[in-house]
């Protein structure tokens, strides 16, 4: 420039160096972002564009002790709809095609409206086969609709097992808060029974499929062709101790009854059958109408959700006379030949305690056989509360059996502390003990406790903690047994022999349950009646068989029917028969004797 005006070179340099400084600033910034901070941005960019879609793991199935299906999974088809691709003119056609009420689809859409239009909405679950067929035929002509498949519990194997298996439900907000790290909202989780206790085995591990998505979350394809996908791991299948035939029989026997049954293998503690009646249909609970079903079940006066087998609180009745007998023998208070004379009852102070009959002179075994109250009224007064409680504790009364379902109650074994607390110190007398001798009064037990007690009687004081699951199938497809603690009632063999003889005679002698005597093998048992202040008494029966080599111990309670031998004993007999005579050819029946 020829014009030599004010500092023209300085002006040039100001512009030049400003631009060079700018260049340096930008270069530094680029270096910082693209080289130094690259890992951070790279991760953000990948998070941006990769969407993980969870793939639910199939829940482990349940087998019975002979690997027969009890609970499995079945596909459930749902209709989904993507509004973005869908023409609303087709709504009527769809509703007509799969027999929905008019407005159903619009309602379903209205409930999920605050979601982007390209995200699928679930319209209806558990489609019937004709609906599935109709959608398959017509989906090509109706853009935006398609079928999805989920796995659902399949309970169609002939038994209900409501209180054994328990139900699964979508996780509620309380449980979700506790287990945020392990579960997502919408996940199913075991709420009761085996499904709850063994949730960790059954649920498996979720898988993930990675998709590349754009800014609007449209799927653009699999991320790296699915090579990073994580396959779901199926849950462990459980092998239950339940015998499907026995369980089925037990459920049939209780179809019109209210009550409970627990059958256990005495040598192992394995629960062969467990019924609480009335029960409920697990299949219904897992369907779309489950809320309605749920409300009906939870307000039903017959309490179908309540597990009577492990939670019902009734006095055990006469089966507890055996505890009294054992206490007397173990403490050396009497020997088996000791006799009382029954004149139809026992006068204690100003109160008369009744017996069922006038039994006359009875020794201990006869007293068990005939269930003579008078004998045991007097006997417990000789024993005293403390020693009696000690024996009852040996058999686990007053505490949980720790069976592997969490719905269980303690029952109640009243001791001196209990009486002090309840009636006041020094305000109760030995008269309070008299009812306990025959399993009435303040004592409470569950059918499961009685079954465990029967196991210990059957197996000479040794058994295992009652349990419903034997083991599981691991991911290499091999069976892994689970172990459970041994339990013991520290009672001498001689004592047990005496009371077992009494129990044998209940059925096979001249006792109270001769109506269930069988020719193939000897059942030993004890009848009972739980007094019910609210109505008809509950019939109780405990039994084990065969007498020589017990394979099954059963406790039965039939509510509101009266005396045990008439109503509970035949139920026990049918169960024992079903279990012991199963698969036994007729010519070999003799060998069981």
């Amino acid at each position: 420039m020829t014009d030599e005006y004010f500092g023209s070179y300085i002006r040039k340099d100001i512009i030049l160096y400003s631009l060079i400084v700018l260049f340096g600033l930008f270069t530094f910034r680029l270096f910082k972002m693209q080289i130094l901070d690259n890992p951070i941005y790279k991760e953000k960019s990948e998070e941006n564009s990769i969407k993980a879609v969870t793939v639910d793991a199939p829940r482990g199935v349940l087998y019975d002790r002979n690997f027969k299906y009890l609970v499995s999974n079945k596909p459930s088809y749902s209709l989904e709809l993507i509004p973005e691709n869908f023409s609303f003119a087709n709504i009527g056609f769809i509703e007509y095609g799969i027999s929905l009420d008019s407005g159903f689809v619009s309602n379903a859409l209205a409930n999920q409206k605050n979601i982007p239009a390209h995200i699928p909405r679930k319209i209806i679950e558990n489609l019937s086969t004709p609906s599935i067929a109709w959608i398959e035929e017509n989906k090509r002509n109706i853009p935006g609709i398609y079928l999805t498949v989920d796995l659902q519990r399949d309970y169609s194997f002939g038994i209900r097992g409501s209180h054994i298996f328990g139900y699964i439900k979508e996780i509620d907000s309380r449980r979700f808060k506790e287990m945020k790290d392990e579960y997502d909202l919408g996940d199913f989780i075991g709420y009761s029974g085996i499904e709850k206790t063994y949730e960790k085995y059954l649920r498996g591990e979720k898988g993930f499929e990675f998709f590349v998505v754009d800014a609007q979350q449209h799927k653009k394809g699999r991320y790296e062709n699915g090579t990073n996908d994580i396959k779901p791991v199926k849950g462990n299948d459980l092998v239950l101790t339940i015998d499907k035939e026995v369980q089925k029989k037990a459920e049939e026997l209780f179809r019109d009854k209210s009550g409970a049954l627990v059958a256990i293998e005495p040598s192992t503690g394995e629960v062969l059958a467990l019924v609480s009646a009335p029960d409920y249909d697990l299949g219904q609970l897992s369907s779309v109408t489950s809320n309605k079903v749920w409300n009906e079940l939870s307000t039903d006066g017959n309490k179908p959700l309540f597990n009577r087998a492990t939670m019902s609180s009734n006095p055990p009745g006469s089966p507890f006379k055996i505890i009294t007998a054992i206490a007397a023998l173990e403490e050396g208070i009497i020997d088996p030949s000791f006799t009382y004379v029954c004149q139809g009852g026992y006068q204690f102070g100003d109160r008369f305690f009744k017996c069922t009959h006038v039994h006359g002179k009875m020794n201990l075994i006869q007293a068990i056989e005939h269930s003579c109250n008078t004998y045991f009224y007097q006997l417990i007064l000789k024993i005293g509360l403390e020693k009696w409680v000690k024996v009852a504790k040996e058999f686990g009364f007053g505490e949980k059996t720790k069976i592997d379902i969490s719905e269980e109650s303690n029952g109640l074994l009243p001791d001196a502390d209990y009486f002090d607390r309840t009636y006041g110190k020094g305000k109760w007398t030995s008269g309070y003990l008299i009812s306990l001798a025959i399993g009435q009064g303040d004592i409470i037990s569950t059918p499961l406790q009685l079954a465990k007690y029967t196991c210990l009687l059957a197996n000479m004081g040794r058994s295992y903690q009652p349990h419903i699951v034997k083991g599981y199938i691991d991911h290499e497809n091999s069976y892994v047994p689970l172990s459970f603690p041994e339990i013991k009632a520290d009672i001498s063999e001689n004592t047990l022999k005496v009371v077992r003889e009494g129990m044998r005679r209940v059925v096979n002698g001249e006792g109270t349950a001769t109506n269930i005597k069988m020719k193939e093998f000897e059942i030993s048992g004890k009848t009972g009646t739980a007094q019910n202040p609210h109505g008809e008494d509950h019939a109780i029966f405990i039994a084990f068989a065969p007498y020589d080599n017990p394979k099954i111990a059963v406790s039965v309670i039939v509510e509101n029917v009266g005396f045990g031998s008439t109503h509970a004993a035949p139920v026990a007999k049918e169960i024992i028969k079903t279990y012991l005579l199963k698969n036994v050819p007729d010519e070999n029946l003799a060998s069981l004797k």
Partner: protein, 409 residues
């Protein structure tokens, strides 16, 4: 390669080759960000055609006689002001601004054309022997030449482009030989406006400092008072102008302070742009392989965020190449402003530099998250016909000046 010194004497390849490189990189980036994109279909084809047309016009301008610009400066300026008024009346609204004028089947932005008008006319005015920039009235006239299009563009409202006009006007006045007092008189309102952004207290303190400086110059009292009043007015005018900004533009300025405060709103583009560039790394993810770009995380990336495409797909190397090409272009243009024989040409070249450099600074700055998101395209690279044609034409003007640099006009 054998350099034809005779040809280099007529045609500065150090300007032309960076221009060509930038245009080609731009075409690649436009292709990458728009192919298979239904909302921007044919954008690449259109940009390619614009490029061809622009280079035809480039050579037409290059071969124009040297006195053409001097003759056409005034008519172009007047015509461009008429078009700026026209667009306010019959313009088409795009992105909240009335900035497009449809002529037949083509639409163009009069503000782009007005840049040429301003540079040529201001160069003409400032280089005229009669006008002494250090005379206060002459200075006011020069400022007024810039002020007319600035006001018209603010009315559209297109704040980004208005900023470019302000910078062009200031830099050209600066270049024309203004003394320190004049420079201070022109620049101080800008400082006052900037201070007003931070609230009344800072504005008052700044005004006080300006007053002190004015007193220290010991100039004519009336003049100093006028300048001080202008400063106060500038602050208030800006406040009013800020209210003229569309809510989305106001939010952009606010979100610049903290883009993560509203990651899905106005800060969204800034964040996604940074993620795109940052994730590119040293060598980039490869052409058509950038997931931020290909998955459309940045809306209308082919216009203001074209630099992200380069940053993501060609990495640090590619981004640096763009910066270097621009730097070479600037250095050669600054060189040209020195070697040309007459003041008019020199001022035109400086006007061109300030235009391109302002776009460059604001655009790259916002892509890198340094400056607010102000909608200004990156010269030569961003999609857009008007802008490409005007920028390439201005380089043609510069090369025409280079061709005639030895003859004083």
């Amino acid at each position: 390669m054998k350099i034809n010194y005779n040809l280099q004497d007529k045609f500065d390849f150090s300007i032309f080759i960076p221009l060509l490189g930038l245009v080609l990189l731009g075409l690649l980036a436009v292709y990458s960000s728009t192919y298979e994109n239904s909302s921007a279909s044919n954008n690449f084809e259109r940009q390619f055609i614009f490029t061809v047309i622009s280079f035809v016009i480039f050579f037409v301008i290059y071969f124009l006689p040297s006195h053409t610009f001097r003759i056409t400066a005034t008519p172009i300026y007047i015509l461009s002001q008429i078009l700026l008024i026209a667009v306010l009346i019959i313009g088409r609204v795009t992105k909240g601004a009335k900035s497009w004028l449809d002529v037949g089947f083509v639409g163009f932005q009069p503000s782009e054309f007005a840049k040429v008008g301003l540079i040529l006319f201001l160069a003409y005015w400032l280089s005229h022997k009669k006008h002494d920039i250090n005379n206060f009235k002459e200075l006011l006239s020069a400022v007024g030449i810039g002020f007319i299009p600035i006001i018209l563009i603010i009315l559209e409202p297109d704040m980004g482009t208005a900023i470019v006009f302000v910078v062009i006007t200031l830099v050209m006045i600066f270049w024309s030989g203004i003394d320190l007092f004049g420079l201070f008189a022109v620049l101080s309102p800008g400082i006052a406006v900037f201070a007003s952004l931070f609230g009344i207290v800072y504005f008052m303190i700044t005004l006080f400092l300006i007053l002190l400086v004015l007193i220290s110059f010991r100039r004519d009292l009336f003049l100093s008072t006028t300048i001080f009043v202008v400063n106060i007015a500038a602050g208030f005018v800006f406040e009013i102008a800020y209210k003229f900004l569309r809510p989305h533009q106001q939010r952009r300025i606010e979100s610049f302070i903290d883009p993560y405060s509203d990651p899905l709103g106005s800060g969204y583009n800034a964040i996604q742009a940074k993620v795109a560039i940052g994730s590119g790394g040293l060598l980039g993810k490869g052409f058509l392989e950038g997931n931020q770009t290909q998955l459309r995380f940045i809306p209308e990336q082919w216009t203001d965020f074209i630099f992200c495409v380069i940053g993501e797909e060609f990495g640090f190397i590619g981004s640096l190449l763009v910066l270097i090409l621009f730097l070479i272009l600037f250095m050669r243009l600054i060189n040209l402003s020195q070697i040309t024989k007459d003041k008019f040409s020199s001022l035109i070249v400086v006007g061109i530099i300030s235009l391109i450099a302002t776009h460059f600074t604001i655009n790259i700055g916002m892509n890198l998250g340094i400056t607010p998101v102000i909608g200004l395209p990156l010269p030569f690279l961003s999609y857009g016909g008007s802008s490409l044609l005007v920028n390439i034409s201005l380089i043609a003007v510069a090369l025409n000046i280079y061709r005639n640099r030895k003859y004083s006009g």
